[in-house]
Symmetry: C2
Amino acid sequence: MPHIALTGATGFIGRHVLAELTARGFDVVAATRGDGTALPQYENVRWVTLDIASAPEQAFERLGMPDTLIHLAWGGLPHYRARHHFETELPAHYSFLRQMVRAGVKSVLVSGTCLEYGLRSGALREDDPTAPVTPYGFAKDALRRQLEFLQRDSGFNLTWARLFFMHGEGQAATSLLPQLQQAVERGDPTFGMSRGDQLRDYLSVAEVARHLVTLALSGKNPGPVNVCSGVPRSVRGLVEQWLSDNDREIALDLGRYPYPDYEPMAFWGARNKLDSVLERQ
Amino acid sequence: MPHIALTGATGFIGRHVLAELTARGFDVVAATRGDGTALPQYENVRWVTLDIASAPEQAFERLGMPDTLIHLAWGGLPHYRARHHFETELPAHYSFLRQMVRAGVKSVLVSGTCLEYGLRSGALREDDPTAPVTPYGFAKDALRRQLEFLQRDSGFNLTWARLFFMHGEGQAATSLLPQLQQAVERGDPTFGMSRGDQLRDYLSVAEVARHLVTLALSGKNPGPVNVCSGVPRSVRGLVEQWLSDNDREIALDLGRYPYPDYEPMAFWGARNKLDSVLERQ
């Protein structure tokens, strides 16, 4: 049985990854920042408190000397444009991961982001050059490059999971679908949103969690992998689908909000590499 | 008269920049790491000791409260492939520059590098995407991006001077032309080098220093600027030119050394932007 440690285990994605790991029968050491978040309880999970920003000592031992690390922790979200991401998070996470692979971790999966690609449109491929325009996308891109340089000196497997858009249980209340649900439940006459024509790539967070666990345990070294559906969907279509699935109605006030300026109008992930790595299991 | 501070003032380029500034009649506060390097003496230069890697306090005051900073300091060269560049230099220089612009510096010129472009061939333009493959090129590229993000919150002028190849007085003894000169002076029968067909962009360091001073004092905010000749030259041609200029002869052992793997076979700088910024003075 692999020794698995998971950071960011109380986050939106982390909770689903933890559920997936325990459903597959693994023992897990799960790390949380210790900010008072309620901890899901499982028989096979041991919780530890670990604040990566404060340069924790003996992190490898405290995490149960794992051979596989799934590293989802990251602070400062969802403020993509704060310098905090490269001033604080980037050096802290690099130091932590360097410490972990030097201590003996063999395989690391780290959550990246589609924002690494910047303003590139269309189907994004892992070997496209990155050109992030937000401090968040820049910091993740820089962390990946630093880990790739580190690999030249310290051998370890790196899966860099570029996450696209997710929906599902535990999503931040400020996200689109939770906002829609609240508007419907309040009985609002209209739901204000952007024009909704932008094309994005969505997966349920449960499916993302399944892919992340499979990738982390693959024993491969694929580098960046888009964790995505590969299917472009309009934001308006997503909203209408949710209303239809939940048998609810509300008038959409399209165009009330502008499009964000840090994302292109239409982008989604190419899924070939994900499919290829998953097939090789 | 502008208040000018210069870091890296005892380096290969820094010495020429200091000479150029004093020749133009400016008062300068010149910083050195205090590693015992002999300090050139000028009437209008005040020397201060400042180790940027050790997070100096009151750096703005110690540098004479400059409005213009020419920042050439950088440690760990010429080891382009050492992680030191992003593990140590990058955070130290970012912190130093952030401290300086917050304290009141209005215009900053920082030395970048053609290695930011990575393995791109041909005439390199400042708006080409960067894709560095060395830790040194990566760290410089990352510092530039971090400063561009900082500009959104703190207004200051940034000239990011991408340096290509230089030759001239004070060059490291391990560089090509000093090696050639030593071989000739020792009376070696042959001079071992690469095949020499690679195309590069060369300027004399004195000309680079003139451009850097003009750029730094422009009061403009051009961002990245190639400081280059714009003319591709073969390395073999450069060597033969030196022999001809100095009326010396030696047999060239072409192909004794391989080409470096972190540079493309043929690259040089597009010079349009440099010319355009210089013309606007």
